[in-house]
């Protein structure tokens, strides 16, 4: 590494501003690295140290990480779509058409959102199966499994509420059929149906409710549960690795690696 470049980075990391944000201080010692993770609100969800064999591709196929990736794509494209979308009855469909025909890269944006949503549902299921068949749900991870189930439901609800927003025939009838399922609940079925749609039929109120659920309530819930999910991984002793899996070389086993990909 060239000395000068090293100097700039080091000077920056030693500056007052940097130090006011990252309090752990500079240094490559294990302590410094551990502190850097622990003192960061985002990173502290993760373990400060991970065994290298836990982050091999074969163990998890990175399904959870990929799911998180699609979620990020969905948040970013979703916010951009919100700039063009009005959740009102005649305007919603016209906005779809504007995105399709006149907004620069609007169709790309919309397709990215849609395909990411499909991919996320697929990945969530794949993640769940992988966890299940590896037996990774067992004690002490049973609570995280339950949180995972909650996240699955939130993902499906996000998918379902997003389906109404284009306000085309497909959307209308899909939500009509879907919401009618809720009225089969004994005794309070019709009340739930009414509450869900803000009326007895899919109409302007339903569109507004689904919009709020899709853009505010459910994403917030998802973020909270995702945070808890990640935090629990650390608390439950890191990613689960099957005992029957062939052990890495003894040297690797002993060596500890940081979360950084080297």
């Amino acid at each position: 590494m060239p000395v000068q470049e090293y100097g700039i980075v080091e000077r920056l990391r030693g500056s007052r501003v940097w130090r006011s944000v990252f309090r752990s201080g500079t240094g490559t010692s294990t302590l410094h690295r551990s502190l850097a993770v622990q003192q960061n609100i985002f990173l502290h969800l993760f373990a400060t140290k991970v065994r290298k064999r836990m982050i091999r591709f074969n163990v998890t196929w990175f399904l959870g990480t990929l799911t998180l990736g699609t979620f990020f794509i969905l948040v970013i494209t979703g916010v951009l779509l919100m700039l063009y979308y009005h959740p009102s009855v005649p305007q919603a469909y016209a906005d779809m058409k504007d995105l399709q025909f006149v907004v620069s890269s609007g169709l790309f944006l919309r397709n990215l959102h849609r395909w990411s949503a499909q991919a996320m549902v697929f990945l969530v299921f794949a993640h769940m199966f992988k966890v299940f068949y590896r037996g990774a749900y067992r004690t002490p991870r049973e609570f995280n499994w339950v949180i995972g189930v909650v996240l699955l439901i939130i993902t499906l609800l996000l998918s379902y509420t997003g389906y109404l927003l284009p306000w085309d025939q497909l959307a209308f009838w899909a939500i009509t059929v879907g919401s009618n399922l809720s009225s089969t609940v004994p005794l309070i079925g019709n009340k739930i149906h009414f509450l869900l749609l803000g009326g007895n039929q899919v109409n302007a109120n339903a569109l507004l409710r689904f919009y709020v659920l899709h853009c505010v309530v459910l994403p917030l819930a998802a973020i909270i549960f995702i945070a808890v999910h990640f935090w629990r991984i650390r608390k439950d002793g890191g990613l689960y690795v099957q005992q029957s899996e062939p052990k890495m070389k003894a040297v690797d086993d002993a060596a500890l690696a940081t979360t950084e990909v080297k």
Binding site: P90, Y93, A94, K97, D98, Q100, F101, V102, S104, S105, L107, F108, D168, Q169, L170, V261, K262
Partner: protein, 685 residues
């Protein structure tokens, strides 16, 4: 095999073997994928059309001005009030370029001249299609979310009909379709509500069947029910495709439910000895101008005559002789609302006319009909069928109530979503196709459908489809300021004895007065200001024609002197225009010099002889009425006012307004008042 695997694994290692390298490769791939979005935008359809347009105008003479008016990018008409966002002009760049008249290749063709500005109404209001789209397939054909595909050009007049409820000169097909909607009885079963809240009113005149047995026989009713067009090809009654037994049962019920009227069956000497001169009947038929309303099929198979009354080709097969006499004596006693005038025929004339009409028969018609006497069960079945088929929607029938909401509502048929339509196998999936097929073959759409088979030409079906396509959702939600209401008949009714007389003579069947009546004959609203008393009296006594090129004429109604005086007095007193002051132009003779000046103006300056005839020897004009006797027909005040502004007196008159000065008008009036038709008067005496 081994080497292939080896090479693949070496490539893999080269690309993804090292995490840093893998990150770089993935980043490059992502960048390439992200480049697709702007690239697709750049190579979009509308860009290529705009480039084609630019190369089209490059080599033209007015390339510079065309290029200046060309605006790149998406072109949009946004009309929030109408809910219109049209981007059609993005590709259709040359719509308003008059100099591109020779370009016929779409999408650059010039729009035909229409009274509206394109940026005030957009495109989809008339053409349908999806205005927001910027690709051809989406804009023209899309139907996935209730969008309407583009309308074929022959139905484009339906677009006008969404706002214009009145008849426009530019929309002959729509107008014809609307007339048919009312005239073919469509709206007797179907409801068609117009945007202004009114409903389309039927203008046909289906006869009451309460006394039908007086008029005709059961055998004829049977034949008629089986195929109305076999009796008269112009019959508007549709074919119900009845089985023999059903037709027999209905005919039995209609005859049994008919109540006799005294006048029809009163024993009259039913002797129709052929008159001495066989032409007497034909002459009377001609003099009475029956052909103005009734048609007859001639030997060549052509239908000749009007369509106000029923065709009379085979009337002898239908009407019983006693009924025919009673009808000719006074049609109003059988049907108080008939359009037929009460001719004041003498008994002798009635005999001649009835004989002439009864001789109009086809000896082969109905010969193979042999009906057994009906049992009570059959009559009951006939009654049931009558109710089921909705006969009473049109005809008055004893014991059967007029059905309500008998057929589907057509008020918004022009916006019926394709998703709601069950098409026939192999049928083109479009609304115009569906509507026209429904009109042409209503029974093909399923067993048990009641709509009968109408006999319509392809052009008539297309016109009717036009009228139905105009009944859209949009027409109901259009802002009020854009709506043009239909001209509706008033319920004007002249008062007093003269009013009764006019009703009896059915003046309103042909003439229009104060916004009510037919359009076959001139509007009489200001007739009193227009004509002179003597002429009117003579005309009512013996109507002659003013326009030799017309076939339909005023019939001779054989009025008594008293009736004539009554009518003349009433018309001269009541039908006066407030704009015409008879005293300003008194019936005085003018000096020959003025008359001569008027003649010169008439012939040279205004060239009136192009359309009118004053001197039959030299003038050839036949567009306007003959003026040889205008001096004894019209009042000078009327002529003067007419010359000044014809359209002010009769809106839509085709005589051009030549901005005649007061002096010229006065001189020409003086000249025209000298045209008394003296030679004819002398000849008569």
């Amino acid at each position: 095999m081994q080497s292939l695997r080896k090479s693949i694994s070496s490539v893999w290692r080269a690309l993804f073997g090292d995490p840093v390298r893998a990150f770089g490769v993935v980043s490059l791939l992502l960048l390439a994928v992200l480049a697709i979005a702007p690239a697709k935008e750049h190579f979009s359809e509308w860009h290529s059309y705009q480039n084609r347009y630019l190369s089209l105008i490059r080599d033209r003479g007015d390339a510079v001005s065309l290029r200046r008016r060309f605006q790149p990018g998406i072109q949009q008409v946004w009309l929030p009030q109408l809910g219109v966002v049209d981007r059609c002009a993005t590709c259709h760049e040359g719509l308003t370029e008059a100099s591109l008249a020779d370009v016929h290749a779409q999408p650059f063709r010039q729009h035909p001249s229409i009274p509206h500005k394109l940026d005030e109404f957009g495109c989809v209001i008339c053409h349908r299609g999806q205005g927001a789209a910027t690709t051809v397939a989406e804009a023209h054909q899309s139907e996935r979310a209730g969008e309407e595909p583009i309308l074929p050009a022959r139905y484009i007049e339906s677009g006008c009909g969404q706002c214009h409820q009145n008849a426009l000169t530019g929309t002959p097909h729509l107008n014809q379709g609307r007339v048919m909607l009312a005239r073919y009885g469509c709206v007797r079963c179907h409801t068609a509500k117009l945007p202004d809240g009114s409903t389309v009113v039927a203008t046909d005149d289906p006869p009451s069947l309460m006394h039908v047995a007086d008029k005709t026989t059961r055998a004829w009713i049977y034949s008629w029910l089986k195929d109305p067009q076999a009796y008269a090809s112009t019959a508007t009654m549709p074919n119900y495709k009845l089985s023999n037994s059903d037709a027999s049962d209905i005919s039995a019920f209609l005859v049994s439910s008919s109540t006799p009227r005294v006048g029809d069956t009163a024993a009259v000497e039913v002797k129709f000895t052929a008159p001495a001169d066989p032409a007497v009947g034909a002459t009377l038929y001609g003099e009475s101008f029956c052909a103005s309303c009734h048609a007859v099929q001639n030997a060549a198979g052509n239908i000749v005559g009007g369509n106000v009354g029923p065709e009379l080709t085979r009337v002898g097969n239908k009407a019983k002789p006693e009924w025919m006499r009673a009808w000719l004596e006074n049609p109003r006693s059988y049907n108080s609302t008939t359009l037929m005038p009460h001719y004041r025929f003498t008994p002798q004339q009635v005999t001649i006319m009835a004989g002439f009409l009864e001789a109009k028969l086809d000896s082969d018609y109905g010969t193979n009909v042999h009906l057994d006497a009906a049992t009570p069960q059959q009559i009951a079945h006939g009654k049931k069928l009558t109710a089921e088929l909705g006969c009473a929607a049109c005809h008055e029938i004893n014991g059967v109530k007029k059905p309500e909401n008998f057929a589907p509502d057509l008020s918004r048929i022009g916006s019926k979503a394709l998703a709601q339509i069950v098409f026939l196998p192999g049928m083109e999936h479009s609304l115009p196709r569906y509507i026209s097929s429904k009109i042409q073959q209503p029974r093909a759409f399923g067993p048990g459908l009641k709509m009968p088979q109408f006999t319509l030409t392809t052009a008539q079906t297309s016109d009717l489809t036009n009228a139905l396509l105009a009944l859209t959702d949009r027409s109901h939600t259009m802002p009020d300021m854009l709506r043009v209401a239909a001209v509706r008949d008033t319920n004007y009714q002249p008062a007093g004895h003269a009013g009764k007389l006019m009703a009896d003579l059915a003046c309103f069947s042909c003439h229009r007065i104060n916004g009510r009546g037919g359009d076959m004959a001139p509007d009489l609203t200001f007739e009193g200001s227009s004509v002179q008393r003597q002429w009117l009296d003579d005309f009512l006594k013996n109507p002659n024609t003013l326009r030799p090129s017309l076939i339909r004429r005023m019939p001779r109604l054989n009025l008594t002197d008293g009736d004539r005086k009554e009518l003349t007095d009433y018309m001269l007193a009541v039908y006066q225009s407030p704009a015409i002051d008879q005293d300003s132009e008194p019936l005085t003779t003018n000096t020959p010099a003025v008359v001569e000046h008027g003649r010169q103006l008439f012939y040279s300056r205004y060239a009136c002889q192009s359309c009118h005839i004053v001197d039959p020897k030299t003038d050839k004009g036949y567009i306007g009425p003959t003026l040889t006797a205008v001096g004894s027909r019209l009042t000078p005040a009327w002529i003067y006012a007419w010359l000044k502004n014809p359209q002010a007196l009769r809106p839509g008159a085709i005589e051009p307004n030549q901005n005649v000065s007061d002096e010229d008008a006065r001189a020409m009036t003086a000249f025209l008042m000298t045209q008394k038709g003296a030679s004819k008067q002398v000849a008569k005496r």
